[in-house]
């Protein structure tokens, strides 16, 4: 008894899905009829800025992995390999745009001005992500896969209602971008968000980082057609971009965001990339994927590619690269120390913010907890003796 698998529906999977690419893996600039115009303003300074973003993002990531290994973080979701998709798309945003991330958008966070220490605090377990989404336009990380795509769509519907699209005022017209993964594309929420965005013509860009894996499950477990082609069925455009090419990601996202701001509705951008590391620091990818794949994708490294381009085109000198390196090192040193010094939450802080106003019941529970914890100062020896019996840590 074998479940029969259906052959690919004729023509469902084109042999070479179209991939927007402006930089080859060797750093050669490829001209493009359509997208070149979208980045015609990107000069040496802008490329340098993105290069810096990429390097700092990777450095925060590798530092966080190291901190997790040292026991300073409970967990970390590494973005290694996905820097260009994040930086390119984030640098297409304007101040008034809003971002609804998953749990891996550390590079986008950085471009939005979220202090990386706040990301470390979340993964260390001292808080649950306490940056201010209203200030940064970067909303809270979303662990439940796909949920944020609906939030993004609703937010975009709000922007639309507020008349903040299609005015032609570049400081007013706004858009929303929702990040999610290839695995998330299977969730009901994501498919519902496509429907909502489509029928309301909401100003939202769905930015899927297709890193090929949902933990151990390859893309084929989630879809039989290239993800960008899903959009057509929902009634809006989809485009696949080389996710390791920061210029292409910038160009494609700029266009999608501008469509949204102009009142032309949603776009699905599929950034075709690869997760170079483990899913998170608790995952063991050697159980399910091949080393050869990694080697193959190493050649497409998003940072090396821009660097080669910059050198090739004389966009920066060695002093620039050295300065960025030094800045990354400094950031790493700072984070290492600052992470260890993050203040521990007090136990009774768990009662804060359950409601806007504490309820009498919660006030009573807080007092009971405080009173209970006080007994440890008085009768510490006794209670620790009790705890010692089981080896369970009481406090």
């Amino acid at each position: 008894m074998t479940v029969e698998t259906v052959a690919d529906p004729a023509g469902a999977v084109p042999p070479e899905p179209e991939l927007v690419q402006l930089l080859t893996p060797e750093g050669q600039r490829v001209p493009h009829d359509h997208y070149d115009a979208l980045i015609s303003d990107v000069d040496a300074v802008a490329v340098q800025q993105m290069y810096r973003d990429l390097v700092l993002t990777r450095r925060v990531d590798s530092e966080a992995v190291a901190l997790q290994r040292q026991g300073e973080l409970g967990l970390w979701a590494s973005l290694l390999g996905q820097e260009a998709a994040q930086v390119g798309s984030a640098r297409a945003l304007r101040q008034q745009d809003h971002v609804f991330p998953t749990y891996r958008e550390h590079g986008v966070a950085q471009c939005r001005g979220v202090d990386p220490l706040r990301l470390l605090a979340l993964f260390r377990g001292v808080d649950q992500g306490e940056w201010d989404p209203r200030e940064t336009g970067f909303h809270l990380y979303t662990i439940v896969v796909g949920a944020q795509t609906l939030h993004a769509t609703g937010y975009a519907m709000g922007i639309q209602r507020d008349g903040a699209i299609g005015t032609g005022d570049p400081d007013r017209d706004a858009a929303v971008i929702a990040y999610f993964g290839d695995g998330a594309s299977s969730q009901g929420d994501v498919n519902e968000s496509f429907i909502w965005a489509s029928v309301t013509n909401a100003p939202v860009v769905f930015f899927c980082q297709n890193n090929q894996w949902a933990i151990s499950e390859p893309l084929e477990r989630q879809t039989r057609v290239p993800l960008y082609r899903r959009a057509g069925g929902f009634g809006f455009p989809g485009v696949r971009v080389d996710g390791n090419d920061v210029l292409a990601c910038l160009a494609v996202t700029r266009e999608a965001l501008q469509r949204a701001r102009d009142g032309e509705g949603p776009t699905l951008v599929e950034a075709f990339t690869y997760r170079m590391g483990a899913h998170t620091t608790t995952d063991d990818p050697t159980r399910y994927r091949l080393n050869a794949d990694l080697e193959h994708w190493k050649l497409k490294d998003p940072i090396e590619r821009v660097k080669a381009y910059m050198i090739r085109s004389d966009l920066a000198d060695q002093a620039f690269f050295d300065a960025v390196e030094a800045e990354a090192e400094e950031l790493a040193v700072h984070l290492r120390a600052a992470c260890r010094e993050l203040p521990e939450p007090t136990p009774t802080s768990i009662f804060d913010n359950v409601y806007v106003e504490p309820t009498p019941d919660l006030v009573a529970q807080r007092e009971a907890m405080a009173a209970y914890l006080d007994t440890f100062d008085v009768g510490e020896e006794e209670s620790h003796a009790r705890a010692g019996i089981s080896g369970e840590v009481a406090r």
Partner: protein
């Protein structure tokens, strides 16, 4: 048909042996699943990452290798889909065992579970059955980020038509998973993830000594009764050991089944001890403890020397990892509650 495991109960390590094996909770459930897959070719295991990876906790380790991709199915990343398709498979005569990766991720499947799975037998006038098991690693104390440490049992126990059980040790886990799979009613099967790596001897060839829906007295005692389930059973056993230092003898009962609740041994115990403490990780309000306290008050009012005490999580969302040990009931909080029952 794909290759089936030749010998199974202990993942092949103990082929042919009938001696008890020492298994941790993960391996015990794995062995139970393996036996069910062997014994009944209608049994399917399905969920995210259950195949090559063997599940994020390795509970399904090696099962796909031995039973094939048709029976141990890596599903799309869609919980509503996992449970919803299980409904259809069950209607077609299969017995799906769904894995939800973590407690917090059962919510996208909540509608399918409480509106569809739970009611199908009732709605069909008994014509249709839902022999589905929904396995959920649950509870805290593993230092995780949000949505990875929750105790959602009350939502399910509140839903008629579902059975809700939870194991606290490898021996029970091994048998209970098989009993749950054999049952023609849907079962929410809660696995205490903080106890996954605790070991015990499991006689994999014997037979279960209790029906699925029965509580167990895990430590007899005379002075007060402590009722708990899942991850808190060990905490309460440790508390009982500690209580002997104070000269107190605690009876510890593992409820095991939360819906239906088996309180016969609790009533019997409270009639002897006169005191009851109920312990769970889940939030207090409208939790399992509230139900136990109400029922014991109804049944054993004249035997009670003190009001039933509850030791539970607080009525807050599950907190950040750095304060979870303060949130979770520990041995000292259990002993404090026992002390309180002696002050009346």
């Amino acid at each position: 048909m794909t290759q089936t495991g030749t010998h199974a109960a202990t993942g092949g390590q103990n082929a042919g042996a009938s001696a008890p094996a020492t298994l941790n909770l993960v391996k015990a459930i794995n062995a139970g699943l393996r036996r069910s897959l062997e014994n009944n070719d209608k049994v399917l295991v399905m969920g995210e990452d259950v195949g090559k990876l063997g599940g994020v906790f390795r509970v399904t380790d090696g099962l796909q290798k031995d039973f094939g991709e048709d029976r141990v199915i890596d599903t799309p990343l869609a919980e509503s889909g996992i449970v919803g398709t299980a409904v259809g498979l069950a209607l077609r005569g299969y017995r799906p065992v769904c894995e939800i990766q973590f407690d917090g991720f059962v919510m996208p499947a909540f509608d399918q579970i409480v509106s569809q799975v739970a009611k199908m037998h009732f709605r069909s006038g008994g014509r249709l059955r839902m022999p589905i098991v929904i396995r959920i690693p649950y509870g805290g104390s593993i230092g995780a980020v949000e949505h990875h440490s929750e105790s959602p049992e009350a939502y399910f126990a509140h839903t008629p038509g579902l059975k809700v059980v939870t194991c606290s040790n490898p021996l029970d886990a091994y048998w209970m998973i098989q009993q749950a799979i054999d049952l023609d009613d849907p079962v929410v099967f809660l696995e205490p993830k903080r106890r996954y790596y605790e070991k015990a001897e499991v006689d994999v060839d014997g037979s279960p000594d209790l029906p699925l829906e029965a509580a167990r007295v895990v430590r007899p005692g005379t002075d007060a009764t402590v009722a708990a389930y899942g991850p808190m059973v060990k905490t309460c056993l440790d508390a009982a050991t500690a209580a002997t230092e104070d000269g107190r003898s605690l009876e510890v009962i593992d409820l095991r089944t939360l819906s239906p609740l088996d309180l016969t041994s609790v009533y019997e115990s409270v009639r002897r001890t006169g005191r009851l403490v109920v312990v769970h990780e889940a939030q207090r309000t409208l939790g399992i403890g509230a139900e136990v306290a109400a029922r014991v008050t109804e049944e054993c009012f004249y035997s009670l020397e003190a009001p039933v005490q509850r030791v539970t999580g607080y009525d807050t969302p599950y907190p950040p990892a750095r304060v979870e040990e303060e949130y979770l009931p520990d041995l000292d909080r259990v002993l404090d509650a026992v002390d309180r029952t002696f002050t009346f």
